[in-house]
Each structure stands twice: as C-alpha cells, then as structure tokens.
Symmetry: C2
Subunit: 271 residues, 2 copies
C-alpha cells in the first residue's frame, strides 16, 4: 500500500484518522493551517506541505476533514487544488457541511474531470483511535470502489453506501447528529428531574440502556450526565450541526420546530 | 397457582396483561368501568364484579392499571377498597401517575395496614401480548418479593428494582416515556427533512439503527415514520406523560425547557 494520499485538516478527528492511514501503510502528504498539529504524523513518516494544493497528487486521492463548508470551499477553490487533482483524481470530503455545498463542490470537481466523494464521519476522536467509526458515503460507483479500502483503513467499522447523488450522505450525517443532540439534551433534562426527586440517574440509565435504549449514545451520554459532566461540553459542534439541519430543512420547506427550539437552547447554553 | 388476584382497569394494556395472568393459572376477579371490556376474560374463567372493592380480597393482591392519577385516587378512596384490602393486602399500581400521587397513596395504604407497590409498565399492548414488557418497581421489600412472580406472569421480561421509596419507579417511567416522545418527534422532523431532499428515510433508519441507535424505539418509530404513519397516532398518552414529567420537574425546581416545548408541539398536533 504505497499509494500517496493527501490529507488536509488535522483537527481532533483528522489527526487520529490520518494516523490510522499511516499505520495501515499508506504514504501521506499532510497539510494543516496550524502546522504544528502535523508533528505526530511527520514523526511517523508523513510528508508535510505548506500549501493545500501541494498535498494533492494528480489522479490520486485527497482527503479533507475541515470544520465547515466555508473552510472546505476555501481549500477547493484555493490556488491549484483542482488543477493538481486533475482527471481521475478523487476528493474524499469528510467534514460536515450543507448538502447544497456538497452538491456545488461535486459539480465543480466534475467540471475539472475529478470526482467528489462525500463521506462524513460518525464518531468521536476516541472512536477514531479505536477504529469504531461509522461512515455513510455517496459518490460515483467507480470512485466509491476505489476509496472503500481507504475508509476502512481510516477506522470505519461500518461503511454505508447512499448512492451516487452527492448530498445524501451529508443528510444522513445531519439526521444522525440531530438525533444525538436531541437525545443528549432530553436525557439531561429528564435525569436532572429524577435526581432532584432523589432517584439515582445512573440507575435509570442502567435500566433504560438495557431495555428501551440499548444504544451507545444513551450509554455514554447518560453516564456523562449522571456523573455531572455536560454531554457536549463547551463544544460548538452540536449547535453547528443543528443549524445545518435546520437550514437544509428550511430550504426544502420542511418544518423545523425542534431544530428551532434546540438552536435557541444550545445558543443559550454557549453564552 | 390458585391465588385470587383482583384486576381493575381493562384498557388496551390492562386486557392483555390480565389475560397473561389467567393464562398463567391465576384466578382473577376483574372490574372495569365499561363492563363489556371484561368479556374475553370472563370467557376464560375470570369472575366479573360490579364494584371496584369487590375485586379486592382481604390480605390479597389487587392490581390497578388506570388512565391517570384521578382515576386511581377515585378507585382507592371508593367505598370499601382499602377496608377490604386490609392488613397484609398489596395494591400493585401499574398506570402512570405523578410521583406525588404515588407517594400520597402509599401513605394512605400504610395507614390501613396494606402496601402500595408501584410498577408502571413500559410496553405497548402488542408487547404485553408477547410478554415483552419492562417493569420498574418500588415498594417494601417483602411486598416486592411477593409480587415479583406476578409481574413476570403479566409479561414482564425484565423487572427492575428501584428500592423502597415509592415514587422512584414512577419517575423512571416518566423519564423513559419522555425520551421516547423526544426521540420520536425528533425522528419525524429529521426524516421529513431527508425525504424532502430526496433521501429514502428507511435507508437512514436502517443505517442509524445498525450503528448509533440500535434500539427498538428507533427501529419501530423510524419504520412508522418512513411508512408515513404517525409514530404516536392520535394518542393522548405522549402529551399526558410529558406533562407529568414537566409537573414533577417543576415541583422540584428542575428546569423544563424541552418538556415545555414538547408540550406545546404535542398540543398543537392534537388540535
């Protein structure tokens, strides 16, 4: 596996995912805005570059894992990225963006003869380190076949094919994150009520996760809440993801009462 | 198992639960406000009575499965119920009420020498018929030991002990139902958004229930939503249960932003 892979975006999730690729034997060319983040990868043999386009190999595969759609668009439209990727090149975009951003970028890649595959990641950094990620993906059949081994090497314990119309996997990701946020905040409210009534929250979590909700999300967030740590900490990710779902729903004229409400609740929490 | 059990409340859930008891060999004395509902049980040998107190055997066990706290209080304080139950009698209350109602009734029973056990049921009528109920319960240790075989015979695949302080099992039930309602409505909003964006809701449910949410609730409600049937139909149960949680939280000065919101959302839905 000596194929040279470009990897752009070494944040909390990007770093363990890129590390998995190196450990699986891939050669990496890495770029990150804050260069020092690349150090652990360079120590493992990754080649660090100073411009996003320099991470791209013509006809090869470049992975991006960026904070939002604006950062992603910046990289793609930055000097040389698309020209360097060229015909037969594949861009695997793994951050969470608006479906319309994904569709727009897919069209731009097509104009340049390359292929955009969306493969947003479900999983915290710890799950990346233990290769327990879930990845829905969408893109051309040929490109998907080519990137599948790479997604597994990144730590995808399950890869789910959502067809060829880019936007679909992003929507799956938005649905999943929204359900996580809704479940997490609902647990927080209900378990606080229980505790103020003298009932041990952990005992409730134990019962409910053996019965109605035998789901990792309920187990992990439930335990965090019972232990008085905020399920989402100070993270802005839940608010960002709820907003993306809300905007996507509103563009399609789908009602958003819960998204609106969670937006307000989470905004208040962060202030 | 010839012990004579009183059973009051033969609604959608009460009827299959009582049927399980008869099928397990118990002798039942049944009461229901609408008498005709008892017919299937009478056909199986149950003795039908015309007053709630007549279903009660002194020193025995009487089960109630009633719509709300007001109905439950009416039965308990109706002529002769507590006197007939007498010393060593046990009342298993299985409907969902306010914890404070449960505590109040527990105290009244104690004054009469009898014991109140709360054992609210998680499960739809179909789950009762297939003996797939989950039952948290609270009450005196001695009473719990005596009623445990009965709860299993009713269809409890899992019985969870929440101590001796009545109110705790009711709180567990309120937490569970609130999380079901929150998850169900959140799924409805998110999957509608997905469908309006051209993504098959069932495909999303299939992925999410194999990964983040491998829970019966997400599977069954997700399928219902994908098939365009309302997860909670025209039922008033979700609204009632959210209200009970909200009131219980407010009495304990625990914040209720999501309960308030769901209350408004569900009220609108029912209008």
């Amino acid at each position: 596996m000596s194929e040279k892979i470009g990897f752009i975006g070494l944040g909390n999730l990007g770093l363990p995912v890129a590390t998995n690729l190196i450990d699986a034997g891939y050669t990496l060319q890495v770029y990150n805005r804050t260069a020092s983040k690349a150090e652990p990868l360079v120590a493992k043999g990754a080649q660090q570059v100073t411009q996003p386009a320099d991470a791209v190999t013509t006809g090869g595969i470049v992975v991006t894992l960026l904070w939002d759609g604006a950062a992603l668009e910046n990289i793609v439209t930055s000097s040389g990225f698309l020209e360097q990727l060229g015909p037969n090149g594949i861009h695997i975009s793994m951050g969470t963006v608006l479906p319309e951003t994904a569709r727009k970028l897919a069209a731009i890649h097509e104009q340049h003869g390359s292929t955009y595959v969306e493969a947003p990641i479900f999983g915290r950094p710890e799950a990346a380190a233990t290769k327990k990620l879930w990845i829905p993906y969408t893109g051309s059949q040929q490109a998907k076949e080519r990137v599948q081994p790479l997604l597994k090497a990144m730590g995808g314990q399950g890869i789910f094919d959502f067809g060829e119309e880019v936007g679909a996997a992003t929507i799956v990701k938005l649905v999943g994150n929204f359900l996580i946020v809704s479940a997490g905040y609902s647990m927080r409210e209900a378990l606080s009520m229980a505790e103020k009534n003298g009932v041990d929250p952990q005992a409730i979590v134990d019962m409910l996760t053996q019965t109605l909700f035998p789901a990792p999300i309920y187990q992990s967030y439930g335990r965090m809440i019972a232990e008085k740590s905020e399920p989402f900490g100070e993270s802005e990710i839940p608010l960002k993801d709820v907003d993306l779902l809300k905007k996507t729903a509103q563009q399609a004229e789908s009602p958003t009462p819960i998204s609106n409400f969670l937006h307000d609740l989470l905004s208040t929490d962060l202030n």
